[in-house]
Symmetry: C2
Subunit: 416 residues, 2 copies
């Protein structure tokens, strides 16, 4: 088919979103099941398309880790289908009455969850995001404009074709799932489409997210980069601190809730750091430390300029010794991206102060930052982890993909 | 004192916001009372400053209606003080636990309301907004950067000086209330201050709001223009429809929840329109109608190009006859600003369809749109009425001036 302009796609999405907004849960769940079936039935076509993307990436000399993120196999396609079926099992947020009351004038007010309408999702190479994002949008009643990476274009076209066939077979308009193609000017059109697109959600690295936040006139939900800190307090149970450190740093270093910086109270440093540095080294983690940390082990390499500001997303960690809680809080304030910040302590006042004063989506006391996740929170689905303060902060699930409206009902009341 | 640069003001606000974020309700309420007292004690200075603004406006040939909005008297100053005292009586949203649960891993999660931090408010001539906005920000734990109109600069300086004296006397940093002065380039700095300012709230006309939404990198909450419609359905109780029409149009025509457009079902037109047009004329309202409306009365002037798109904010109303509910919904979809939309009907299915399909902050069934207001909703305070879908939609009170954070507490749990 001829490729539509972005404007035509957005208009079609808005039109289709009206039918979706009032669709029953049963119809949406039927669509999710049909999308899963179509994806499995089209698995051969999806894998063939993906093989073309992978070959192109390899020919272009793309690093192996990125090629791996791009690559699909039968198991990954089945996992995408499974994700859609799981979404069908979750409660529908649309129509939930958030609160309701009657005013002294006898007017009845209900605040009810409604879909945003049209959601634009701008994301990087992983083609599985295409199915996840389309499914979460559909279940929350939103049409999805999916702006994937050009490196995954063949995979995304094949996945979207399957998803649209499923949507249409369930009696909903196929235009609720659309792939947005074209060059950078199309991303600019998406960011300018105020009134046609209700919200943009960038998913990817800090560069992509910043570009969307700074360039968009459409409201954006920032999903987050996580420069996550662990502060080991003077009173910490050091075995607990070590277990949390290793889990949060090494269990899955490439994700946003993995640990990037270790701060140790100087009263704990002499006992904790030698054990911690040895254990990190055994786990293959490179420690980038200040001189105060280097004093404890030759394995610590010098922390460079700006070392405390970024995400490694690898088996690396920045480390410093701080004289007290004030210094730990000041360090976190200066370097945090507001994702997930952890203290290990046995001192109640320290725990309460840290929880009260750290400004982040999640503050953890004596638990691994890896728990900050829609799945671990029990939400069943997650579109991302918001690090902004408006609308949603922390793991975003189906209710966070909705707005509300007030329904005000009277019997002819007028205002005096 | 020397005027600080905007950047210095924002840094000072952020620093001060940290003390405010953890201040007790008792301290915040004491500050609100002290602000009210300082405003009353400084009433002479405020009125003298206001007289200079008024004289300047009159000398510049400002229309009388705008001069009236600028003018303060002892009663208006007392009303500002009273507003601050009323805020002290409202519940503090900060610290509210929105929800809490324990995960299968035994990790306890609480979602807790926290202040945004620093709120920028950009507003037009009414100097009473200065005290209102500062008070609402303070009660919700936010430092306020107040960007008022240059036409009210002397009034705003005097009001802010009084408010800051009150804040300081209650032991909170005066930097939580600051007036932002300077030319247009300072508004641009505010809109670019991502990371220093957490949210911008423009309050004023459509031009101001659009300029902020389109120019800001800082997240914006749109408070709204209201092109509000009344649809009189075929089955409407016509006496009820007439009462709601007159109330919503004439009780206070200058506000955003006043009615701007009347749509009449053609099956009701022959009985309803003659009565409605006569009553509107008696109430001094000019009706701008299509030929279908003009057929009922010589008093109806022809609706011009774009007549259905704007807010009159005056004793004018646009009017059309529509063949059915579909046409009414299509008209509203094409022209609504998403504020408050009303149906008068006695048909349950029509009421339910209108409530489900109209995409607005508030949908009213058989009640005047004038009820869409923080005071009428029982919120006790209102910073504005949001017409956007993110974060808050409809009347925004104290809880809408907060974000949340997750506090995750364990006993050393790690993720498997």
């Amino acid at each position: 088919m001829a490729v539509m302009t972005f404007h035509d796609q957005a208009v079609a999405a808005r039109e289709a979103s009206r039918a979706l907004a009032t669709a029953s849960r049963a119809r949406k769940d039927a669509a999710l099941h049909a999308m899963a079936e179509a994806l499995l039935a089209g698995s051969g076509a999806v894998l063939a398309a993906n093989a073309r993307d992978v070959a192109r990436a390899e020919a272009a000399g793309t690093p192996a880790s990125l090629v791996d993120r791009l690559r699909l196999d039968a198991g990954r396609v089945a996992a995408m289908a499974d994700g859609l079926i799981q979404l069908a099992g979750l409660a529908d947020p649309v129509g939930d009455v958030v609160r309701g009351w009657t005013t002294p004038a006898g007017v009845s007010i209900r605040q009810v969850r409604v879909p945003f309408g049209v959601v634009g999702i701008i994301y990087e190479a992983r083609p599985n995001v295409t199915a996840d994002a389309a499914g979460i949008a559909l279940k929350s009643g939103n049409a999805a404009l999916l702006r994937g990476s050009s490196s995954a274009i063949d995979s995304n076209r094949a996945i979207v074709a399957a998803l649209r066939a499923g949507v249409a077979s369930a009696g909903l308009p196929a235009a609720i799932v659309q792939l947005v193609e074209g060059g950078r000017e199309v991303t600019a059109e998406m960011m300018a489409a105020r009134g046609l697109v209700d919200v943009l959600i960038p998913r990817g690295g800090a560069g992509l997210i910043n570009a969307v936040v700074e360039g968009s006139v459409v409201p954006v939900i920032e999903t987050g980069t996580g420069n996550c800190h662990l502060f080991v307090d003077a009173s910490a149970d050091q075995a607990m601190a070590l277990a949390i450190l290793l889990n949060a740093k090494t269990q899955r270093p490439s994700v946003c809730n993995a640990l990037e910086t270790l701060l140790v109270h100087e009263a704990a440093a002499a006992t904790f750091l030698p054990r911690a540095l040895a254990a990190l080294s055994d786990a293959g983690v490179t420690v980038h430390g200040t001189p105060a940390v280097q004093a404890y082990s030759d394995s610590v390499i010098a922390a460079g300029e700006g070392e405390f500001d970024g995400e490694y997303l690898s088996l690396d960690i920045a480390c410093d010794v701080v004289p007290d809680m004030d210094a730990a809080l000041a360090h976190i304030r200066a370097h945090s991206t507001g994702h997930s910040e952890t203290i290990v302590t046995s001192d109640l006042a320290a725990a309460e102060r840290f929880a009260a004063e750290v400004d982040a989506a999640a503050v953890l006391v004596n638990a691994s930052s890896r728990f900050v996740d829609g799945g671990e929170f029990g939400f069943g689905a997650e579109i991302g982890i918001s690090t902004q303060k408006l609308h949603a902060r922390g793991p975003m699930a189906l209710p966070e993909m909705t707005s509300t409206k007030y329904i005000v009902t009277g019997r002819g009341q007028t205002r005096g």
